[in-house]
Symmetry: C2
Subunit: 313 residues, 2 copies
Amino acid sequence: MPAPAALITLDWGTTSLRAYLQAADGAILDSRTAFQGIMSLDGASFADVLTANAGAWAHAHGPLPVLLSGMIGSRQGWVEARYVPTPAGLADLAAGLTPVPDAPHPFGPVAIVPGLLRDDADTPDVIRGEEVEVFGALNRLHRADGLFVLPGTHSKWVRVDGGRIARFSTYMTGDVFAALKGHTILGRMMQSEPTGAQPIKAQSVEGFRRGVLAARALEGPGGLLARLFSVRALGLTGRLAEADSADFLSGLLIGTELADATRGHEGFTLVANAALTERYAAAADLLGLAHASAPAGCAPAGQFAVAKAAGLI
Amino acid sequence: MPAPAALITLDWGTTSLRAYLQAADGAILDSRTAFQGIMSLDGASFADVLTANAGAWAHAHGPLPVLLSGMIGSRQGWVEARYVPTPAGLADLAAGLTPVPDAPHPFGPVAIVPGLLRDDADTPDVIRGEEVEVFGALNRLHRADGLFVLPGTHSKWVRVDGGRIARFSTYMTGDVFAALKGHTILGRMMQSEPTGAQPIKAQSVEGFRRGVLAARALEGPGGLLARLFSVRALGLTGRLAEADSADFLSGLLIGTELADATRGHEGFTLVANAALTERYAAAADLLGLAHASAPAGCAPAGQFAVAKAAGLI
């Protein structure tokens, strides 16, 4: 007999959302995915989309509280949620919840999880949504420390000490890959599939391997910029097949990211994004970096932990 | 009384060409610019374009020899000219000329200057056209050594020792800038002008300055990749004005290029491209790098030197 439904959560990003009906003990009773991210609403209101995806749960189980995380709290989202400065733990996120005024019927109170801010004068950074997944990963792995990465268009590396997020860094690796492949001379020799987001086994393992090893050989802060054109020159001189070139670039960028982000760390844990996780794990193996993968479901687990810390359930 | 006309040369690139009528002593008797690069021929043949831009000179002065340099010798050009491996001097370029079969009437023999190849197994590089400008700069500056940069979509850094090109490196800085600005999240806060190719005085000096200083603070081969997102985060946290952000990115990239390319060198000489030269000079000043600028006209001076070495005049 499962515990009764107690909470609705949405991981609401730019292009899609994932909605969860959670029990009082954190069990996932139901879930739903929709391509209705904040930039793809097609004219619908945020309230409309919430109702379409989670209204039936509230009708069935009463006015449950609703917790939203991700880009829904950005300036382009429903209500702009603040950024909480690091270091920050669950209690800080819970204390920083932003209520959505006029929560639509038949829901209970609706609130948005704050983002985190690395408040450095010269190198500030922001994160929205992934920090919740990290708390979910800590919960599911029964850990309070570690280095976590959430690969994506903008990879987020998150350092946790004593249950609090001490520091995080964004690497625009996927975004940079797509821009270089689609809009510089490097793309001329590449095939048109969006390689970066695809499982490595479907692509060129050899090209990716060579790119990662090239990353390992880089020197100095300009090393990557100096190395990019060689992807083209390797092709012109017959040393790199066209079919390998996109994955070479992917390996070069991901390898550079991995080497930089793990400096001074023992190992790291991959969270979410199955296709990219495989690619990051392969690169880590080539670089001799210890790594593990968090189980699936970190986002709702983290949302549950925040809701509990906030006294919503 | 000028020396008689002796040579026609064309610096024929991807988007435009510059044609010169040169005297036997290297004086420029006439010149012409056309936006008829090899990728913008509008259906005309290479012979048609040569005739349209230089035919009147040959009619007036007889069947002068014609020397072409630049992307006209690439696979997409008139005839593919070989790559000569570095180190290479004027004699090597002269010995590697590729004749154009069936030179159109009323020209004398038409030949294309070879490109150069850095024949490294892992990091090969190629150059076509800029190497000729470097030989022109050596000639005009009465020098046989030095580090030269030709800023552009793909900046070329060329190291000359004893009159021969010892090594060169391509930095895709302009190409990368345009791709990041036009096709990643960084561009969302930037204005739409193609900043990178504009004179710095018309843009944000302050944004550029901050970007160059940020480049100076980078550490490790992943430093640039790790720093890119801060351009966005600086804006989100109100620390960088939207109007400054494109030039901040330009400064970050150019500063990174300069610091990397000049490692272990005493100083460098800027060749050609007035707008970008100003930007590179400003960045070099901020980084405390010694630099000078070559006089204008290095391309025809280099072509003249190659023609002379090849016995064409």
